[in-house]
Symmetry: D2
Subunit: 424 residues, 4 copies
């Protein structure tokens, strides 16, 4: 009888996991619906991947870490895909150079879709056949796989935006949906006391990456944090005051980047006869001074903060403030996925990731998980900076107070903005 | 009455030109039939263009040089295409960077096809409406446009081959057709007397590029010319004798290229457990020692000739020999377009272009044609070498004894081979 | 009378400062004594500066920050030197590109020496003429200038070593002095308790850079620290175990650096028929397995630590351990400047700088000093890692427990080694 | 008796050769007299070599091709110099990378001078000990060695000029000598008949390089040639008419070079408040509109000729005109070496080398000499253009009607100017 109950519970769990799996997987293909086949192939800079590649790579992830080790009679879809769609897992095997992903036309989009179907069918079989013990074993890897696919959903939108931007025809990904009533702009700042506090994954989330822990104590001095993000209007003041021409505002490497790239505004901004325009997933439109400014490199975020007489917050400050302000509440209020940040309203989540003053380094006593999945986060802990919060294009359910996003200093194509901090 | 006759003659001429036009144009799209939409988008190196771009650029050519100046009410298909599909005509206007042609997904293939249709319809109108005087004016430009499109047909096949080669899945463009009986290998060499001879366009061809004239006298010393092309078997001897490791055989810049690129065999050759394989438009297959060796840079052609105790012929020698041997006859005997060079048979035409010892320079008293079309050939007369003859993929009717093809010293992706010469 | 005493005190202070000044300045030229004029000119990689440039730039520093603002009738030595010998102070004016410092032969060495003499004479005048108030004003800037010159003394030796290394004749900077009796190798490790501790400049030093403060609290968990540095013998095990060929040991960017540079040993190591040799300022010699291993990049230090089942210490851990162990004591025991690290003996100071796990970031509430001198440290707080301790070539009096040295991840030409740490 | 006479004749010949040798050799060191030791070390771009290197390399040439094979007990000066001072002779052995010649400070200038002395002493021994038969064998190689050293004398001056130019202090190599009375400007042009003519080394010179022959027939059509070189004043019209901004005037690769390098005037020209200045070996001075314009790339020479409604002459045209006009006469009239081209006077020789329309290719039936000396000229016959005549800095006795100088299309640091030609 107990066994019977257990079996039913296991079946329930299987069904529940499978539903989660299918929900995440179907969103990836839904995001590609507005795209032409041609759009699925291109890679307009080395950091970007073709949409087709995202669809295939996320399938390869399940194939590699779940189907091949756990589904006994699984047959790989194509022997060449392990090489083509491994991103960077050295322990799994060699991989195709990232810089050349946009140079290969085959497998075609249709073949990639067939690959996804093949993997999905096998995953359904794996999940429905698994008994409770097996499910318990698969569960953590499955969660990584689903969160991995959600990250690639965000990347896919970032990448499409960049790919479309460099095209002089400036294609439109989606017509804007009827605008929700904008919330009021968040203005002013809030003060937070200093002290010794814990930060990092507290174990109450259904999932967290290994890099969010271990939870540990930090000393924080009293600080203030802006209630809202820096707006395009505020950033325009920086531009017009000559911020991009004044080396005193910049880190040395940042100033070199300004010279090297000829930066004079955020990525996607273009000056026209009618003033500043910005490229969005809805096409070109006028810069809205009330909207949060995005697509800044860390160097620009840092230089702006210096210009404004402030600084970037540390990730500890950000997390403490978010905790103190019960920012998790925001996550349930966020409007379903939007393609561009809303004007006003959002504080910690749902508009733009927020650059911090913290290099992406392991927390004390951090250990990557064993095996190839340990390469997921750990090996990038050098030379990158942490962003906190989430963006409008971050999938529902993928944001957490302890979440640590990270990008190199010069990256601008992710949805990254600025929240200012001050010593108190 | 005379007028009536003239009108009918003009109508005949119009119809004839239009048929020529349609024949050439339809072949371009026919060449793309084996391609997936994805294949139409990519550009695997900077010298290559996406097939989609070839289809659009050749249409832009007619639009720019015939429709816009000559069809009064012509409406351009898309205002952005003048920028996207101008290749290099500075006098026409600015153009999109060549190196980024593979980064743009739009216009889609379907839009490019609509563009072609738009241009074809207008061209039919232009040609059928033109009176005799206008036709006479259009005729030379039309011929340039058609020959231009034929050149891009050859480029398209060269480019698809390269694009497919760098894909680890090695896609196949076309299954091999039933092989025609191979002709016997041409062996030995023929002697030619020295003297003073005319070379260059003699005016008997229905069309020739400006760079093929003016016809002029040259002094040539007695020489011998191989009857056939260097074969893969012969070239293998060079490889196995360490030809790629012996600097004495190479021009200084050529030796630097060998080091820089790590060359150790012709482009498309790969050593496998079963011996040397070569990538073709029919897929990978074993190197045939009897087949002519192709996809050599000028440096490799020159080094091989030195290794073989011979030299490359000058373009004058080549043209004199072809004239003396009545090579035009070959043009009528050539099998319709093939994708890879035949074994045996072909001498001057129809297998591989043949590198010469002649830099691509203007003939004495050469003047480029006036206007933007003068940029077609003239501005490339620096730093390139002449190839003579034609290749298996050269369109029917596009080869001539006076034809001067040209590529930079390091180029290997065109169908370029070697015919040896000796002083006599 | 009080005034008289004050004047005498002021004179005493002047004389004392001047003696310090002269001692530091004369050491710079003394370091160049073994060099030929030719050695003073070259720059074998962009990070390196010609010795001549170091001599001139350090003089420019005093000229710019003391003589021009404070010595009323000071005449600059040469109007062109402000451009040539400004290193990176944007607020002072434009500067000659760093990468081209080795391309200019003039001013000659003799002219640079005359420049030094000119500055030294003026500095003597400035210091002896200054009253107590003025001296108090000059004092902090003078100390920065002297510490700056000491840093360049260390750089000069690093740079000469690199310049000599790439010369196939491998010149020798100095014959080895009779070796002092080696101290015993430090083995094993020491445990330190966790807790909340202050780190940073405690104000008891006669000088500290702005980046060493403010002093602030940190949370540290219990840890162990190796008593000595990793030796060449231990590092050889890493090499022989294939450490340079195993991506699992490396950060992602580190692995890319290994591939890009072809690293297979520390800088200056060369494998010969008689085993591993290492280039030193005394010429080539056999690698001593007991000597501490130096000239590692951060990536190599990090990979080695992972290989050894340990990790790099944070800078807080390093400073706490050094404080707890009364490492300042070492500073008084250190043998006068040596050119290569001693075998055994030194723990925290006097052998090799020690890479830490800490990115070079501002301490909480850090503010750079006002004006151009604020560019000294502050603008490099992005993308570099901290090293602690000091090296054998660090000038006497230039080491401190709170000292924060910093270099980019890939830098190897400074004297950087490894001290391992473990969680406890 | 006959033997006695023969011995005396041989002694005479030895002495004569030795005097020639010493005259050439001593001029090389004399050219370095105005240089500081520091100037002897630097290499401001990859095409340039340090003066020290020129002095050593020319000595290595005699050591390698005469002393080692022919002086039985010769001891090489230093075993490392064969590697350091071989320029590009692959058959002799490996060589130090050209791009790094300015990165090595040792051997010092004094050591290089000792090397020269060592070689000179041995050469004197070789020449005085040789009997007639041996002398006859050595003679051709010795002549190559002396002409080689003369070429390096010209290179040395070119290189010093460039090295000094990039130094913001703009050092002066030599004060101008009292100016000789300028000859009148050569104006207008001369007509030459067409026909079939021989060109190339006619065997009447005491020395010629292998690339100047074999003498052979060429067909030349009637042409005109300017009597003088294009002047700075004429070239200024090109600049002011926007020549550097009009792509129609340029070869495609030339236009790309203009963009890439930002060319807007000849090398060494700088626009100042007082108008155009030009850097010379005598320092900066105002551009003289009457002086011939130099330091042009082939692309600029070609674009200017097109702008002027003319063209560059072929090397055959140049040689025929020089022969017809008895230009050899000029060689005896030329003022001893000058550092900058004279105003007026010189036609074919003694002012600036003159770019031709001829690629540097072998003459019909050209064979490089056997052995490593065959690398002297032959392996550069690809991708370079011929210049004819000579420059003011060309050593006395080093100019010939058949002399073929050659440089790549983009080179500007040699003394290269323009003589225009027209079809007649």
């Amino acid at each position: 009888m107990a066994e019977h109950i257990s079996r039913r519970a296991s079946e329930q769990a299987s069904i529940c996991l499978l539903e989660q799996y299918q929900a995440v997987r179907s969103r990836s293909t839904a995001l590609c619906e507005p795209l032409a086949v041609e759009d699925m192939v291109i890679q307009a800079m080395v950091e970007v991947s073709p949409p087709k590649w995202h669809l295939a790579h996320t399938s390869w992830f399940f194939e590699t870490f779940l189907l091949k080790p756990h589904l006994p009679d699984y047959r790989v879809f194509h022997p060449g895909f392990a090489f083509l769609f491994n991103s960077y897992y050295e322990q799994v095997g060699p991989f195709f150079p990232r810089s050349q992903r946009g140079l290969i036309s085959r497998p075609s989009v249709a073949e990639v879709m067939a690959y996804r179907h093949h993997v999905d069918t096998a995953m359904a079989r794996l999940l429905t056949q698994a008994d409770a013990a097996r499910l318990a074993e698969l569960h953590p890897v499955l969660l990584v796989g689903l969160n991995h696919e959600q990250q690639h959903q965000e990347l896919l939108l970032m990448d499409v935006k960049y790919n479309f931007f460099i095209n002089p025809l400036h294609p439109v990904y989606a017509r804007p949906s009827p605008v929700a009533a904008s919330a009021a702009l968040q203005q002013g700042h809030a003060s937070y006391e200093g002290g010794i506090f814990p930060i990092g994954n507290d174990g109450h989330e259904s999932f967290a990456y290994d890099n969010e822990g271990p939870r540990h104590q930090v000393v924080v001095e009293p600080f203030r944090l802006a209630k809202g993000l820096v707006t395009c209007g505020e950033y325009l003041e920086f531009i017009e005051a000559g911020g991009y021409r004044d080396p005193v505002l910049w880190m040395s490497d940042g100033w070199a980047a300004v010279q090297r790239h000829g930066w004079c505004a955020p990525l996607y901004w273009e000056r026209s006869d009618e003033g500043w325009q910005v490229f969005t997933l809805h096409g070109m439109r006028a810069v809205d001074p009330q909207a949060p400014v995005g697509h800044l490199s860390w160097y620009e975020a840092d230089a702006y903060a210096r210009f404004a007489g402030s600084r970037l917050p540390t990730e500890a400050e950000w997390e403490l403030a978010a905790t103190a302000d019960n920012a998790r509440q925001e996550l349930t209020e966020t409007q379903a996925d939007r393609l561009e940040p809303p004007v006003g309203g959002m504080r910690f989540f749902g508009a733009l990731w927020q650059w911090t003053a913290s290099p992406y380094m392991p927390y004390p006593r951090y250990r990557p998980v064993a095996g190839a999945l340990g390469e997921y986060n750990g090996k990038f802990m050098a030379g990158q900076m942490v962003l906190r919060g989430s963006a409008c294009i971050t999938p529902q359910g993928h944001a957490r107070v302890s979440y640590r996003n990270f990008f190199p200093f010069e990256a601008r194509w992710m949805y990254g903005g600025v929240r200012l901090a001050w010593d108190d």
